[in-house]
Amino acid sequence: MTFPLFPTHEWGLVFGVLSGFGFGFVLERAGFGRTQKLVGQFYGDDMTVFKVMFTAVVTAMLVVVVASGLGLADFKIIADHATSETLLVPFAIGGAAVGAGFVMSGYCPGTSWVAMASGKLDGLFTVLGSIVGAILWSEVEFRPGFATFHNMTNVGNFYLWELLHLPPRAGPAILAAAVVVMAAGCFVGAEKIERLLARNADPLAQATPGGRRGRFVVAGLGAASLVGVALLALPTGTAASVRAAEPVSQLELARRVFDAPWTVRVIDLRPAAACAEKRIPGAECVPEADLPKLALADAAPGRDLVLVGDGALAQPPAAAAAYPGRVLILAGGWKGWEAFALTPPEPPAPGAPLAEVDAYRVRAGIQSALTGMKAAPPPPTPTAAPSGGPKKGGGGCSG
């Protein structure tokens, strides 16, 4: 997964100015710095607000859907990070109040800044009002009574694909395609209403018909939504490329378990009794049948998931493959681990190459640490370091 980039705080602030610049520039050029264009939406003769907002929603949605389909991002990780929780009653009541405030002031909080920047004093007064309003609610929102309303009917991060019981991987792409169809229908309706009411329109807020360019944009969004759906079927889509389980060697896992245990979540799939007896340090004993109970699809993706089977696992079980982060399979499974880490290694023959002696030392260390043996396996016979430069290439036949 490449995105989000999550830059450092300082670079984030620089990017904040850049994205704000793009935001403000586009809002102004769309006509959102002029109150008559904004409120035209509510008198029916200038639907610019709806057209711009809905096109922007669909465009951004499709970019994230396609990026997720290519395995560059993950729709749900971005959504969990960028959206707020859903609080049904406060959002319904507060949303209506924001709409009412919008027609009273003639702006929304974002566009009032744009209007202010272009010299509109009513924009400045809306900005000041918004700041005062935000402070006022902050003064009371935590107090008894207010807090009950402010926090009621909180259903957490909740998405339309969950509401409609669509699978979490395919849901966003399918819904995006449905939203494009809905948007196209709404745009046709909006253009029609504008034409019907054109004679009422404010001279300062003439509707801009979509025309050929508008149809071209909607067709392009439709094509992008089909790409988003098609990517679900490709083996290179999210389901395969992000979740393709990579093997992890015993040595690599041992290093991570000792040095950075917080970066891995080891899950031992063997029967509970076998796992309870002996397991990799920190491993959770979860027989394969119980795996769905962990709800790995919804788990935080921060740690790499390491699956340990009895022998070598070819494929991660479906419940583990749904994990949003990296999924690793321990090469050789438990049997391989036992042979590698719990069995005393054979000391190398005197005169063995240094690499072999090193590998022996590491394995001996792991074995003694894991089996709690007071006496480590015998130290190797010292070998004189070969003088001058690394050994000749092409190992394996050096004996």
Binding site: G22, T83, G95, A97, V103, G129, A134
Partner: protein, 169 residues
């Protein structure tokens, strides 16, 4: 090039441009765009200069000071101002004025702007975001709450529009 202040971008192309800015923000920051959070942060900065003990004693205000995201939103608003200045100046729309209909006084229009802004700022705290932070950012990521907000927003707007029509036309 001739500048016509009444000429705006094609709304669908503007929507695509806005969507691409939003998508870039998702992919870089993992966040969307917003305005109301930055407004709160600015208000808190003023309060902190006047009454720092009060800010520390009020949890929602203290949170706005402690978090990193509110500062990001203020930088974003700085960008919005710059973008608005450049876009309006180059389009010939930069002008000191009050936008209003002929049937309302300047003072009346400014009073409505302030009152409407206050209602919006207050309500946007309840909804954890405004038209940009909730409808745009959450809507594009298919959050149920954002779509509830979106519909309630239009209901509230259409419900009140008739009664304030004198402000605009």
């Amino acid at each position: 090039m001739e500048r016509n202040p009444n000429k705006f971008w094609n709304p669908y192309l503007a929507g695509v441009a806005l969507g691409l800015v939003l998508a870039a923000t998702y992919l870089v920051m993992g966040n969307g765009l917003g305005a109301s959070g930055g407004n709160l942060r600015i208000g808190v900065a003023v309060l902190q200069a006047i009454a720092p003990e009060h800010v520390a004693a009020t949890p929602p205000l203290a949170r706005a000071v402690a978090g990193e995201h509110p500062n990001w939103l203020v930088m974003e608003l700085l960008g919005v101002i710059l973008g608005g200045i450049v876009a309006s100046y180059t389009a010939g729309r930069m002008k000191l004025e009050v936008l209003k209909g002929p049937r309302i006084s300047v003072a009346g229009r400014l009073a409505f702007a302030f009152a409407g802004g206050a209602l919006m700022g207050l309500a946007a705290k309840i909804t954890r975001g405004c038209a940009s932070g909730q409808a745009l950012t959450g809507g594009a990521l298919l959050s149920v709450g954002a779509w509830v907000f979106f519909m309630a927003f239009f209901a509230g707007g259409y419900g009140l529009a008739y009664f304030v029509r004198r402000e605009y036309r």
